[in-house]
Symmetry: C2
Subunit: 130 residues, 2 copies
């Protein structure tokens, strides 16, 4: 950016981000607690939409790493924290659907993916595209 | 899949694919020529749609590697080849828009991104979402 910011307005947000920058980004909840890290994005092949951001987390309850698919729409980027924020307590996350990492594409394409969207009260657009 | 395929029909396609599997996938043209490899996907932060698949290629004209953003919609996965196929000759690719890898997110968010979509006669949905 060669121009100074005008009259206190923030610079226009960049509309696009590369998937390899999303991968590895930390996820916090609104209390500022570290929930996990984005591993990868699950893309709907037909519509080219991000169906899920897959977050890995683990350790705070003494268990191994687990993976939580999150609807893209529940993630908000927080520039101050340098990470995503989701409105989710650790207890809610512990009860949230995980998924089978050995077969994640198949697993999330169908009913289990719908269950994840239900949990976050998001619209499972990728099942019945308009 | 525990069930055998029914009456010659292929198994239902998996609807989702993880971004880290797309990254590294080879791209061919319809003549079967190797055009490049997908480096990353550029995601629209707001809508969660893949705006571009960024393909790197280079070498056949003796030049270094260059990067070509492609609209997601021009890529078709070919299971036999194990890669994407685009309807693009090498000459068309050589004349196609490249992009500034130092600032790819800014570069593709605006007019240059529109130019890329124009070149491939695709709809630049990410500029003016409905």
């Amino acid at each position: 950016m060669s121009n100074p910011p005008m009259s206190g307005k923030p610079a226009p947000a960049r509309r696009l981000i590369s998937a390899d920058k999303v991968e590895g980004t930390v996820v916090y909840n609104r209390a500022g607690e570290h929930l996990g890290t984005i591993d990868t994005l699950m893309i709907d092949k037909v519509t080219g939409r991000v169906a899920f951001a897959v977050m890995s987390y683990g350790g705070f309850l003494g268990i191994g790493e687990s993976q939580h698919p999150l609807p893209w729409s529940v993630l908000t980027y927080d520039t101050d924290r340098g990470g995503y924020v989701v409105d989710l307590t650790r207890e809610q996350l512990a009860a949230a659907p995980t998924h089978d990492t050995d077969d994640e594409e198949n697993d999330l394409s169908d009913t289990h993916g719908r269950r994840v969207y239900d949990y976050y009260k998001a619209e499972p657009f990728w099942l019945d595209p308009g």
